[in-house]
């Protein structure tokens, strides 16, 4: 690992000043960044350690029904907060389907949003990667790319965003609160991550020094608590990134869908909101036929970026299944295998 300066600012404004110089990056729990630094993928000169900043580790209900989650709240603490998990069950399920218990105990909300792609070519400094080194090319294009993007990719980059947490958050219209050199501002989480285009190295809309201080879920997101699920296909039962995942949130009245929210994970360089699919479900009966129509719409513009055409039909089926699970109702408790397509029967081991 390259050497660096480690700074522990006492306030948000000190942090922003320290992180606004070239070569400086923020450090939260470091579960992704330290790994990237060990591999030489990230080579910062200065780490601005934000874990000591006061007031950013709270889950606060706001007047009007919004909830504000401080950027330094640990993934595990948010998922296990009883009120939060009951109100936003798909978010809790997504969090618990990600990483391992050790990582969730450390990793923060802000860090989860800003984690980097797990594309193996991004991680391997011997390979060409436009995201890591602009203009160097993309070895994923002709390489092992069965897990790569099927939506929103470009010739320059076919990587995916790996977060589970962001998928239901985008479905529920989460807002990101940012402090920067010119003061505070907000962006919709849906607009935080950029599609690669010709500049895959620009992964988010954040400017140098910008610090995510909180995310907010609007009061309206509470309407989906009784019909909200996250479903995630992995290549092993647990502790793996999504091949494809989907968050499905419904509000059902009089046997019809009043409102639907759908987002996909593992398919693009950002958490992917499927608005066309949502529209098709309004006033529809919550049944397989409607769900399949919505799934077709969600993947209508999907294109394989390599040997990953299977992901398109897989994603459609995961959307259908997530919608069916959501329609059946949020379970009392997050399942033993969160987000898993296995072990549908309670108490039956998924393993022989």
């Amino acid at each position: 690992m390259k050497s660096f300066e480690h700074i522990r600012p006492a306030s948000v404004s000190d942090a922003i000043a320290a992180a606004s110089v070239p070569g400086a990056v923020y450090l939260a729990a470091g579960t992704n960044l330290i790994d990237l630094m060990k591999g030489g993928v990230s080579r910062p000169d200065r780490l601005v350690d934000v874990m000591g900043l006061p007031g950013l580790d709270r889950i606060e209900p706001l007047a009007g029904g919004d909830v504000r989650i401080g950027a330094l709240v640990r993934n595990a603490d948010l998922a296990h907060d009883a009120d939060f998990a009951k109100t936003y069950p798909a978010v809790a399920e997504a969090l618990l389907s990600g990483a391992s218990a050790q990582l969730r105990n450390a990793a923060t909300v802000g860090g989860n949003l800003l984690q980097r792609t797990r594309c193996a070519y991004f991680y391997d400094v011997a390979c060409a990667c436009n995201r890591r080194e602009p203009g160097s090319g993309c070895d994923a294009r002709g390489g092992e790319n069965r897990l790569h993007a099927v939506l929103g990719w470009s010739d320059a980059c076919i990587a995916t965003h790996p977060s589970d947490f962001c998928v239901p958050l985008v479905a529920l219209d989460a807002v990101v609160e940012i402090e920067g050199k010119s003061g505070p501002r907000e962006v919709r989480l849906e607009d935080l991550h950029r599609l690669p285009g010709d500049t895959p190295e620009r992964e988010t809309v954040l400017a140098p020094g910008d610090l995510i201080v909180a995310i907010r879920l609007p009061a309206h997101a509470r309407n989906f608590s009784s019909h909200a699920r996250y479903l995630k296909v992995r290549e092993r039962t647990s502790y793996a990134f999504a091949v494809v995942s989907a968050a499905a949130c419904l509000s059902i009245a009089g046997g019809k869908i009043a409102e639907a929210r759908i987002a996909l994970g593992g398919v693009a360089a950002k958490p992917w909101r499927a608005r066309e699919a949502e529209k098709l479900l309004v006033a529809a009966a919550p049944e397989a036929e409607s769900f399949r129509r919505a799934a077709e719409a969600a993947l209508a513009h999907a294109q394989p970026s390599g040997e990953n055409e299977f992901k398109i039909e897989l994603a459609r089926r995961i959307v259908v299944r997530a919608l069916a699970l959501a329609a059946a109702g949020t379970p009392e408790r997050v399942p033993a295998l969160p987000g898993s397509p296995f072990a549908a029967v309670s108490g039956v081991l998924a393993h022989a």
């Binding site: 729990a29 350690d49 391992s100 990582l103």
Partner: protein, 165 residues
């Protein structure tokens, strides 16, 4: 850089001089404090061999910078036994053949301790397996590991029931 931090390690407060901010908690424990029970497996947060408790919570010590943990309370595998009396998890791992080569075992046991502290899995074998998925065992002793954790969890629940009754 010259930086010093204070840590409480297995109940003992220590002032520690860090010669370099790159030092992880794992390397600090093993190389500087010679507490080599905590193992370095992948060193990238994937295998769980380096699991320790920080302020009572299990984390991967390989991905934690020591300089970020001033004031933390740390528990390692060396802090579990009382003299010659094994911790119930250590005894259960032996009773259930929960290891073969033993390299992952300190991480497994620290992770199991964290799992029990978290009170999320209870006596549900599937929840225990899921909660232990951050600890890999190349010898494949998973069945024994699950049994060992389950036994300790059941004994704890029975003790609690007796206390309530």
């Amino acid at each position: 850089m010259d930086c010093s931090i204070s840590l409480t390690i297995n109940g003992v407060p220590r002032d520690i001089a860090l010669s370099d901010p790159r030092v992880t908690l794992l390397d600090l424990l093993r190389e500087q404090l010679h507490l080599i029970g905590t193992k370095k497996g992948c060193d990238r947060g994937q295998c769980g061999a380096c699991t320790i408790l920080v302020n009572g919570r299990r984390i991967n010590s390989c991905l934690a910078l020591a300089a970020s943990h001033d004031g933390a309370e740390i528990t390692t595998i060396e802090g579990l036994a009382r003299g010659n009396e094994l911790h119930p998890l250590q005894a259960a791992f032996i009773a259930h053949d929960a290891f073969q080569c033993g390299f992952c075992t300190p991480g497994q046991i620290m992770s199991a301790l964290g799992l029990i502290n978290e009170r999320q899995a209870g006596c549900d074998a599937e929840r225990i397996r899921e909660g232990m998925s951050g600890n890999l065992c190349r010898c494949g002793a998973y069945a024994g590991i699950t049994e060992a954790v389950l036994e300790v969890q059941k004994n704890l629940s029975e003790v609690k029931e007796r206390q309530v009754a």
